[in-house]
Symmetry: C2
Subunit: 371 residues, 2 copies
């Protein structure tokens, strides 16, 4: 905040709210947020009924939980930001520099316009991803959570590999994926992942974000499974692809190039290298195989809420020159979405103090073929 | 659009996108939307890889699917709205009146500011909820989907009533709820609900939006279950409360008043009456029992994506004078979140041409007690 010359920071991103205060609840469908100060503890601010959740989950004392009346919720005549602006004025920040997450889910254009009109003397500055960047390097405690999430991811992928057969309904497999994800392992119960399981087959796998239906798996098609175990909101995304039958040469060649590219990328994912170095290492073997891959190949992961388990800071792509640091975690995600098939083999990785990236999950890095 | 004096409408709300075009995919974590014209078919616009999903799910021909390059995704140097603005200018709308959903998840403040700067000659008007309001009265086909969702909701609640016992882990019950929700019934596979299952117990039930953990259900506490079956993105939310042991008089009295209030509200939920009439009918018995309930008591439901299964138009509360029409559907949701307990008994309802509201689910309207 000091470096960004901000007197006050208002955070509406639920993952940033949780990281700053511990607040955890499915209440981000109404306006809420955290006010961050230089000199005193933050204030959680939200809907009256959710203040009950804040006093139960935040580390600040109850005097640092503020709320607005229910008739502001999804109203056509008033807006919760009127209440927030009044609180900001009352605390003496009405003519100060206030940072806002302008590019963020949940902080709407209208929220910005209301604050602008209610705080005419303030300077509203863009503080998009300011907190997200602080989250890039994970603490040891965070890594403990992510490793637990990775154990859940492995259990899900093991179950998929065992269970997917021609004639099995996709919706049944999704039900089982949720079962594994939420039962968790031993005492480590699972949380909801920030993205639902994705498992398109055959030519639908050209479209990476279609969700499931009740059709059955068929012989002669690849299905990729994009899933994440989630432990106390920390994610370890993990993707593997199952081919039922004998894969055509085209897919086998793509698998070979992709695995080679992944391994080159893991080797390049070292502290001191840049995000683009990983993207370039990956691209080499793919280009040699004639695969032109334009999409980014990964993003930081950790604490997240829907709709995305990425942290929206660094991207593993040619344009990104961010220097990698020990403790950073990424979903190294070079999905191939071709004209009439798709292939995903991915790793959740940790940048180590020296040496190549460490994979959080430990399962064969290949196409799973069931003849 | 004509009534709002709009030449062009840009829609970023995923449920409005789906309602207008059929598009269905978990891609709303990046900027995407639908351009709606007066004279030609709408254009789906989004990320390159998601255009593959659009051509598979939208009713328009493929020429009405447009996309932007991947390096615009979550970039620090460029914004997808630059591409959208260029398309709007190219089509001759650069100096026209353009409607935007200013109060909506996913349309960020930054998206608005970029459009404003890229379209200096356009008039950017607030079209928040313009499409949502068109969705208020459901078609017969939509009601078929909602009734299928209601069958799934009933199956989930039956399972909860049978399975919840002292010593059972909450995370296990959530896994089973997802199992029922997604397996669906017979050929009717289930879709993901827009809100995760909520099931706080005892004093935590004062906080309506806390999610689960791995603790066990205990004797001497009420747990409310807020769930929804979902069929092809149409929801039928349904809440019931389970008490393990003998409920204290306070909760029994609240149950009696709540059920009486619900029944009065159902009787008031008639075509021609107003939303506030339902809220007032509910409030009578509650006030008589000394329960002061400030929160709104319901909202329209139907097609939805996370983070909310409400439609964000009408609210069942004292301030809302919207006249009810046949075919409107609501979650009549008068949750009681008291200081150290919570009670939810709710109904998904349909406004009929004459007579009281029809409940989409058919299960006893009472506290479920397991001694």
């Amino acid at each position: 905040m000091a470096a960004a010359d901000l007197d006050l920071l208002f955070i509406e991103d639920p993952s940033n709210m949780a990281w700053l205060t511990g607040y955890d609840g499915w209440s981000f469908y109404v306006h809420q947020g955290v006010l961050v100060f230089h000199d005193v503890d933050p204030i959680w601010w939200g809907r009256g009924q959710d203040a009950n959740g804040a006093v139960r989950t935040c580390w600040m004392d109850d005097a640092h939980v503020a709320h607005y009346p229910d008739h502001f919720v999804q109203s056509r005549t008033c807006h919760p930001m009127e209440m927030l602006a009044a609180m900001i004025r009352d605390r003496g920040y009405g003519a100060k520099r206030i940072g806002l997450e302008l590019e963020n889910y949940y902080f709407s254009a209208k929220a910005f316009l209301v604050l602008q009109s209610e705080l005419p003397d303030a300077i509203l500055a863009d503080a998009t991803a300011l907190v997200n960047w602080q989250r890039a390097v994970k603490s040891e405690e965070e890594l403990v959570f992510m490793r637990k999430a990775a154990r859940i991811s492995e259990a899900i992928v093991d179950h998929i590999a065992a269970r997917v057969e021609p004639g099995v309904k996709k919706s049944d497999i999704v039900a089982e994926i949720y079962g594994k994800a939420i039962r968790g392992l031993d005492e480590d119960w699972g949380d909801y992942p920030a993205i639902v399981p994705l498992l398109p087959s055959g030519s639908d796998a050209a479209a990476p974000h279609l969700t499931w239906d009740g059709r059955t798996f068929e012989k002669g098609a690849a299905t990729f499974f994009e899933i994440a175990g989630c432990y106390r909101r920390y994610h370890a995304p993990f993707c593997r692809t199952v081919y039922l039958g004998t894969p055509p040469d085209e897919i086998r060649r793509a698998e070979g190039a992709l695995v080679e590219g992944l391994e080159a990328g893991l080797d390049a994912a070292r502290a001191g290298n840049m995000a683009c170095d990983v993207a370039r290492a990956l691209a080499g073997p793919l280009e040699k195989a004639g695969i032109d891959r334009a999409a980014r190949a990964g993003y930081p992961i950790g604490l997240s809420y829907p709709p995305d388990w990425g942290e929206r800071t660094i991207s593993i792509r040619f344009e990104d020159t961010t220097v990698l640091e020990p403790g950073m975690t990424f979903h190294f995600m070079p999905g191939l979405w071709m004209k009439d098939w798709g292939l995903e083999i991915t790793e959740s990785i940790l940048i180590t103090p020296d040496g190549p990236a460490e994979c959080l999950c430990d399962r064969p890095r290949r196409l799973f073929v069931k003849e």
